[in-house]
């Protein structure tokens, strides 16, 4: 009985791990690193993790999780609360709805799709922030962040793949 409930807790913790890992990465990305100019173009960790899990384990990154992760990122980073929540939610929805397309595709294709999603997300964020401030804001930091995020994605994807392999392999996939 006890062993059974422990297994249950263990399984639950493992299933929760994509969200917890994503939240932790967002927190780490918000720490000060004192590299000149980094603060302005700090890559969008939330977008990378949501994209990854939406492709490989969409069952563990539902819309509510993506939304909460966005809120968490907004609160830590200081961006308008709700901005990243909306963007991550839409990105999650877009990828999950195209899930059949991604099945069996090479990493190059996935990277290319991530680039597209990032550019659309950066554009959307720029429009919303312009709207909220009722003024035209310089879009270049958003663009730089997008390029930087696209460049870092393979590394993040590799890291998340290792974590997925370590934590989620023993878990029954048919949830």
């Amino acid at each position: 009985m006890v062993a059974g409930s422990f297994r249950c807790i263990d399984r639950f913790a493992r299933l929760l791990s994509p969200f917890v890992i994503s939240a932790a990465l967002v927190l780490f990305a918000a720490l000060p690193v004192q590299i000149p100019g980094y603060g302005q173009i700090a890559f969008n960790v939330g977008l990378m993790t949501v994209f990854y899990w939406a492709i490989y384990r969409p069952d563990l990154m539902p819309a509510v999780a993506a939304f909460s992760l966005g809120l968490w990122q907004d609160i830590l980073v200081g961006s308008p609360v709700g901005l990243n929540a909306l963007i991550l939610l839409l990105a999650n929805w877009a990828i999950v709805s195209q899930r059949t397309f991604f099945q069996g595709k090479s990493f190059g294709v996935i990277w290319f799709c991530f680039a597209l999603v990032t550019i659309v997300a950066a554009f959307l964020a720029w429009i919303i922030v312009c709207g909220l401030n009722a003024s035209l804001i310089d879009p270049s930091p958003g663009l730089f962040q997008g390029v930087f995020t696209i460049g870092v994605f393979p590394f993040t994807a590799w890291l998340l793949a290792r974590l997925q392999h370590a934590l989620l392999r023993p878990v029954d996939v048919s949830v």
Binding site: L31, G37, A42, I75, S79, P141
Partner: protein, 281 residues
């Protein structure tokens, strides 16, 4: 199954609307959004504080290695600077003596000094469209919303949100930062307005105000929210429509800051809605 799909679709729609609603509430500076925000940051502040320390140590180590290669040039430069500063020290001592004589003659009562709270920067990367940092001092340390934040070089920003043991500092480069300043030499007043670029601009200058590149800009103290005379920066470029300031503070390397918690002549200011001070509870 169709029912489940329907629920899914409505959930998505509901969350999209919720995101927009939260954004608008936040824009209207609603207390609820701010409370939630400061509450969450308060809880994770100790974690961020602890996690940011090793990073700071590594950066310091790298700096130290870098300094090793420039030690000769640095020494030369510092010697020269020291000689110059000694001259200034003599001048300052003479002026201080003269000043105290004048004060005695005028029966001048000195004002009490300002009070500060020291804080460490625990969160950076203010996002693409915001320029702000998190610090590990809040209401417990006497920090209030609107307080001026400085470091050894000059003005950094003002406190925009305070939790119990954390606070968010809006840098002077942020789009929403507006600070009353004055040109130190000519006493021309202006508002320093950030626009998310590295160099904030001077707004509301009187027509045909004469300004030169290199002029020092300090806070004017108008409105009583900031103390007067805090060094802000130098005029970096002058053109017909825009004047930009190179700030003294280096925003890329903020590690420790000082928050001016009280100063002589402080009043509850109402210059900009977001700098309104709420009475302490």
């Amino acid at each position: 199954m169709p029912v489940r799909a329907l629920v899914h679709r409505f959930a998505l729609l509901f969350l999209i609307l919720a995101a927009f609603a939260i954004m608008l509430l936040g824009k209207a500076e609603t207390v609820v959004v701010e409370r939630v925000r400061t509450g969450v940051v308060d809880v994770v502040a100790p974690v961020m504080d602890a996690a940011s320390r090793p990073i700071a140590t590594v950066t310091e180590g790298i700096d130290r290695i870098g300094n090793f290669f420039t030690v000769y040039e640095d020494n030369e430069r510092l010697r020269e600077q020291n000689a110059r500063l000694l001259e200034w020290q003599n001048a300052a001592l003479a002026l201080a003596a003269e000043n105290s004589t004048f004060r005695k003659m005028l029966n001048y009562i000195p004002e009490p000094g300002a009070r500060f709270a020291a804080a460490r920067v625990i969160g950076d990367s203010g996002g693409v469209f915001v320029r702000s940092v998190l610090v590990n001092a809040g209401t417990q340390a006497g920090v209030e919303k609107g307080d001026a934040v400085i470091n050894g070089d000059g003005l950094v920003g003002r406190v925009a949100e305070t939790g119990r043991q954390s606070g968010r500092v809006l840098l002077i480069t942020d789009l929403n930062s507006r600070i009353p300043v004055v040109v130190e030499k000519t006493r021309i007043r202006a508002i320093l307005a950030g626009d998310n670029s590295g160099q904030p601009k001077l707004a509301f200058l009187p027509p045909n105000a004469r300004l030169e590149v290199g002029d020092r800009i300090v806070t004017s103290g108008h409105g009583g929210v900031f103390p007067a005379g805090l060094p802000v920066g130098r005029i970096a470029s002058v053109s017909d429509d825009v004047m930009r300031i190179e700030a003294f503070a280096d925003f890329d390397r903020l590690e420790y800051v000082r928050i001016v918690t009280s100063f002589p002549g402080e009043t509850a200011g109402h210059i900009v809605p977001s700098t309104v001070r709420r009475p302490a509870r």
